[in-house]
């Protein structure tokens, strides 16, 4: 565990958080801190969920270009949301919060295991898998649009789900569920960090060392799916942010050990997201478009990684 890297990451996060909480604050400090504190928590939880799920997913699939969102995990979750609403009656009162989240997440874990277990079988042709994943995401999003339209055909102005997340409308009760979930899952993954390191070696070396790669991979799909479900439920789909964080962490961590990668990724991701939000909200005054920019940058990073790999 590289303590120096972790300390630097922690410092980065704390500075970002402090800026977020204090920059441009006017008026009642108590209120402001409480209000911003909640937003800070939301941003942190989402960033940690995305960063950790991406890093683990990349370890399991043995490449740094895939992310769960590229494979359409988030679209799957949104679709399941729509389907449960459709099945249980549109706009059923009280259908929100913990029960909804629990049901949807359970369904998602099952569906994800099925869908992506199938896809990841032939891990040779990486680009084909990625392409399939992206198109699968498109399919799921289109299905979602279809389902929504079927339910609300008279809603002429129905906006198809956008690919930017909304941080200003995070449901508070969801946040209080999400935080412990993300904390627990991340802790659990950290405990199993050594096993992750072995998995990162690849299928055969892992087998030699006594780790059944395939079973471990499918098993790890559960926490990954859970984290994706949480972040999507909280703020909506995020596609390239995880890739960006993962690329940065692998670059600066100077080690491949997950005991460092995971916490560093969590801290750097959270710090980055908070910093960008601060920048956009306070300095540039361009509110909810943080993620547009991050996603675009992440998209460019994605392309760069693809090209670099192709040239190799």
């Amino acid at each position: 565990m590289r303590a120096d890297v972790l300390l630097a990451a922690l410092a980065f996060y704390l500075v970002s958080a402090a800026l977020f909480l204090t920059l441009g604050a006017r008026g009642d400090w108590g209120f402001i801190l409480a209000f911003r504190g909640e937003k800070l928590l939301a941003l942190t939880v989402v960033a940690v969920a995305v960063a950790v799920s991406t890093i683990v997913f990349q370890t399991v699939t043995a490449n740094r270009i895939l992310t769960p969102a590229i494979m359409g995990f988030d679209a799957l979750y949104i679709l399941i949301q729509s389907l449960t609403v459709a099945a249980l009656g549109a706009g059923a009162a009280g259908w929100s919060g913990l029960p909804a989240f629990a049901l949807e997440t359970t369904l998602m874990i099952g569906a994800a295991g099925l869908l992506f277990g199938l896809l990841l079988r032939d891990s040779e042709d990486l680009n084909r898998i990625v392409l399939t994943g992206i198109v699968l995401g498109i399919l799921l999003r289109s299905l979602n649009a279809l389902v929504t339209r079927m339910i609300h055909p008279s809603e002429y102005a129905f906006v198809v789900a956008r690919s930017y997340a909304r941080f200003n409308s995070v449901a508070p009760d969801l946040l209080w569920i999400a935080t412990p979930i993300v904390a627990l899952v991340t802790a659990g993954l950290l405990i199993g960090a050594r096993r992750l390191d072995v998995i990162a070696l690849g299928r055969d070396p892992a087998l030699v060392l006594g780790v059944d790669h395939r079973r471990a991979a499918i098993g790890l799909l559960v926490p990954v799916t859970l984290l994706v479900a949480v972040s999507t439920a909280l703020v909506g789909p995020i596609v390239f942010f995880g890739l960006l964080v993962s690329a940065i962490v692998h670059q600066v961590a100077g080690t491949w050990r997950h005991a460092t990668l995971l916490p560093a990724g969590a801290l750097i991701g959270a710090g980055l997201l908070v910093l960008c939000q601060t920048l956009f909200e306070r300095v540039l005054d361009m509110q909810a478009t943080v993620l547009v920019v991050i996603e675009s940058i992440g998209g460019l990073v994605f392309l760069m990684l693809l090209f670099r790999r192709a040239r190799a």
Binding site: N127, R149, P153, V293, F307
Partner: protein, 313 residues
């Protein structure tokens, strides 16, 4: 494939399109047909034919089976042009907006083709992958500008392909797509040779540059006209040429009529389904195509076709 049943099926489809709709065909029937149903049917067929042909041209030029204008940024760039025009010159005429959309589409596609040339030919999946991300980035930029100018909802409506707004006087630009299809047929041999590569083109005395430029223009024109008139119709340009290729090969001069017909039929069928499945409400054809097309695309990516894609490279 026997021609008779196919033609009969197509005719039935057209009939269904003319008869299906929220309004009833009674005394006003001729008027309704002339103003709404017939233009809508024609629009669907023209757009479908144009997009299928644009798709196959792009595939020949990019030398890759899994690209088409709506998934590699051409369509998205046309949308971007629309947004920019709406922001800068809100009251401008439709033809002017179309020209601007065309220019954006042309520029974006030219850049994409330049990108594709730098990609290693060993990996056929890299090209559509790059295209999807590239298109996504363009879409994000358009969304950003739209958001900043309170146009996000409009952008969504414009970009989601649907024919419900089509009527006499509002779709005529799509005939340009039809014209582009005819042009493509005239140039079919040239595109096939271009599909064999730059060296083969040169060896046979063809100006690769000219063919590429013509192809780009046709592709961008069809895409811009379609996006501005009826919105994005995804996957048509991908699914129809791939299936046609499996059935009858890539000799464009021979296969182009079938391609155009296939594209027309696909879009028309999806529109009819969209109108029928939740009658009297309509599901936009773009949504139906998104589901149907994505399924077929995924099917194409698995199995033998993808393997062939690798082998033929």
């Amino acid at each position: 494939m026997r021609l008779g049943p196919l033609i009969a099926g197509f005719a039935l489809l057209i009939l269904a399109s003319l008869l299906l709709g929220a309004g009833r065909l009674d005394g006003d029937a001729p008027w309704l047909l002339a103003v709404s149903r017939l233009p809508r049917t024609l629009a669907a067929m023209l757009a479908g034919a144009g997009l299928a042909v644009a798709g196959v041209i792009m595939q020949m030029l990019a030398r890759n089976r899994f690209v088409e204008p709506e998934t590699v940024g051409t369509g998205q760039a046309a949308g971007l042009g629309l947004v920019v025009m709406t922001v800068l010159a809100p009251g401008s005429a439709l033809w002017l907006r179309m020209v601007v959309a065309l220019c954006f589409a042309l520029a974006a596609t030219a850049v994409f083709m330049a990108l594709v040339r730098r990609l290693p030919p060993r990996d056929p999946m890299l090209v559509p992958l790059t295209g999807l991300v590239y298109g996504g980035i363009i879409a994000a930029v358009a969304g950003f500008i739209a958001y900043e100018n309170d146009l996000l909802q409009f952008l969504d409506i414009w970009m989601n392909g649907e024919f419900s707004g089509v009527m006499l006087g509002r779709y005529e630009f799509l005939w340009l797509a039809g014209g582009a299809t005819l042009l493509a047929w005239a140039f079919a041999n040239r595109f096939t040779i271009a599909g064999m590569g730059e060296e083969m083109s040169q060896s046979l005395g063809l100006s690769y540059r000219q063919v590429m430029a013509t192809g780009l223009c046709i592709v961008s024109l069809v895409s811009a006209v379609t996006v501005v008139t009826v919105g994005m119709l995804p996957f048509v340009g991908l699914v129809v040429p791939n299936i046609a290729s499996r059935l009858s090969g890539d000799h464009l001069r021979r296969s182009l009529p079938g391609l155009a017909a296939g594209g027309a039929a696909l879009v028309l069928a999806c529109d009819v389904i969209g109108r029928a499945v939740r009658y009297p409400y309509e599901i936009p054809v773009g949504t139906i195509l998104g589901v149907v097309g994505a399924c077929v695309f995924i099917w194409l990516l698995q199995g033998r076709v993808a393997g062939q894609g690798r082998h033929a490279r």
